[in-house]
């Protein structure tokens, strides 16, 4: 199933499980403890915890998450643009607790994959049969000299929603008309690949409305990006030449920053914008590395059928942290992975063979109020990753304003649906 090392312990377990499958799987299931711990209460982890409980009410499901309130990244670009309050982005875990999921507001600190236990910041230790890591991203500061948590107070990333989102909003509000807002965009893989361009669009909308002599400057470590033609057409239609983009092959890759001088250094030049939004290179959330589930890329290789780590036994990795191949690092993908992973775990605990999942991801971009477009894709396991299969769709390049307005409204409904589905 995976390349996990065969120890005497799991070899014996494997034999037991195989024998049970042949003989009486229901007996094993009744006897198995069925303890699943999920780390990370975002779109992936919370969806996984609920799906586990729905599939088998007898499972003991624990969710470990350091924050009492989750702040959603999807739609946070609207908060930055002043179109939405941050409270509309925040969700708690009461519904999950009411469904008999143990919610621990703690940070996971240590994992012992051999002994199958996990420690939290309050010193408690939990034993699991299966562990799910859904830690999202952390920033790879070593890859961007000059940038760190301190620098992010001057040059916000706003790539984890919350205080950073509001900081970027305040900086935009404080900027004088005629200023320049720079957005530094990293290479892939990164969280939600089209989101930086949606952000550029919505910031341009704010500037056009309130500070029309200002500009948005995109410094991009990529030449091409998701839904590029749709974005570029919308920018021209809505914002004229307000948004300028310097692509990789035009020298757009940011190589370092100097937060005290508010300077961004690229391979071929320096920029000192009035507002600097630095989206740094990323990697899997730190706990994945602690678990030994992250490889040299900083991300987590998985078996795409079960989401089980190729590096750490009995640990499943879902969402932004896993190496998904063709499937983008998005909330919709994380949610779909959480549910598929839950189904695989229920099967594995019962000694049944897991089924290869077919995942659907959809991504809406709103480039102005009432102007949206989308990309939907289907993904199936292929080798070590997910590959896109037929059935995907992107909004047409030429469309009447009514379709763009309908898609913007659909984006809102998508957000209501996925947050209700995840948090209740």
């Amino acid at each position: 199933m995976t390349t996990r090392p065969v120890t005497r312990r799991n070899a014996v377990l494997g034999i037991t499980a195989a024998a049970a499958t042949l003989a009486r799987p229901s007996v094993l299931r009744a006897q198995s403890a069925g303890r699943v711990v999920v780390v990370g209460g975002g779109f992936g982890g919370a969806a996984c915890a609920r799906a586990l409980k729905h599939a088998d009410a007898k499972l003991q499901v624990t969710l470990i998450e350091p924050n009492k309130l989750f702040t959603s990244c999807p739609f946070s670009n609207e908060v930055i643009a002043g179109l939405r309050d941050i409270e509309a982005q925040q969700f708690g875990y009461d519904k999950l607790a009411a469904e008999d999921i143990t919610v621990l507001i703690q940070a996971a600190t240590r994992i012992d994959p051999q002994e199958r236990n996990i420690a939290t910041s309050d010193g408690a230790k939990l034993i699991y049969d299966r562990l799910v890591l859904s830690p999202g991203i952390d920033f790879h500061f070593e890859a961007l000299p000059g940038y760190d948590d301190t620098a992010s107070e001057k040059m916000p990333h706003a790539w984890k929603a919350g205080a950073q989102t509001l900081l970027l909003r305040r900086q935009l509000e404080a900027m004088a008309d005629g200023g320049t807002v720079a957005i530094a965009i990293p290479a892939n893989p990164s969280r939600c690949p089209p989101a930086p361009y949606e952000r550029a669009s919505l910031i341009a909308h704010y500037l056009k409305t309130e500070k029309p002599r200002s500009k948005v400057l995109i410094l991009d470590a990529k030449d091409n990006f998701s839904q590029q033609r749709l974005f570029e057409k919308a920018w021209k239609e809505l914002y004229g030449d307000m948004i300028e983009r310097v692509a990789l092959s035009q020298g757009g890759r940011v190589t370092s920053v100097d937060a005290s001088a508010k300077t961004i250094v690229t391979e071929f030049g320096n920029y000192t914008p009035d507002v600097a939004n630095i989206i740094p290179p990323q990697r899997a959330g730190r706990i994945a590395e602690i678990a030994g589930a992250a490889d040299a890329t900083g991300w987590c290789p998985i078996d795409p059928v079960t989401f089980e780590s190729k590096l750490a036994p009995n640990i499943h990795v879902i969402g932004d942290a896993c190496l998904g191949g063709g499937i983008p690092k998005s909330a919709a993908a994380a949610s779909a992975q959480g549910k598929a992973c839950a189904a695989a775990i229920v099967n594995l605990l019962a000694g049944r063979a897991p089924q290869a999942p077919r995942l659907t991801g959809v991504c809406y971009n709103t480039v102005a109020p009432g102007y949206g477009f989308s990309l939907a894709g289907n993904y199936q396991p292929k080798g070590d990753i997910f590959a896109e299969v037929e059935g995907g769709a992107t909004s047409p390049l030429d469309a009447l304003p009514e379709l763009r307005a309908r898609e913007a409204a659909k984006a809102e409904r998508w957000f209501q649906t996925i947050t209700a589905d995840t948090f209740g």
Partner: protein, 105 residues
């Protein structure tokens, strides 16, 4: 788009300086086919040269495996004030050039 050059404007005599040069080019390999099966003809840059006050300090031959928009970075010693000249030569008579000045103190 013109070529992009990054040469330090100023350096101390004897300093090791980094020079970066990037030019836009499709670098068509000559191995690809169109949907009709016709071969897409090769169109690449084949040679890059950098001269420092007319003396060649760096040369590179480029091949089909090199990606579009070739980006080269190399080092030299800042010896004297003057001009760095860059030249790209390729298939179908392609030729482009750029230059940058440096002050050595």
């Amino acid at each position: 788009m013109a070529a992009l050059i990054n040469v330090p404007a100023k350096a101390k005599r004897g300093d090791i300086i980094e020079i970066r040069a990037l030019t836009s080019h499709i670098m068509e390999t000559g191995f690809r086919h169109t949907v009709d099966g016709a071969l897409v003809p090769r169109d690449i840059i084949t040679s890059f040269t950098c001269r420092y006050n007319a003396t060649e300090i760096f040369r590179a031959d480029l091949f089909p495996a090199i990606a579009a928009n070739p980006y080269l970075s190399f080092f030299t010693i800042a010896k004297e004030s003057g001009k760095l000249e860059f030249e790209w030569i390729g298939d179908n008579g392609y030729s482009s050039s750029a230059s940058a000045s440096i002050t050595v103190e």
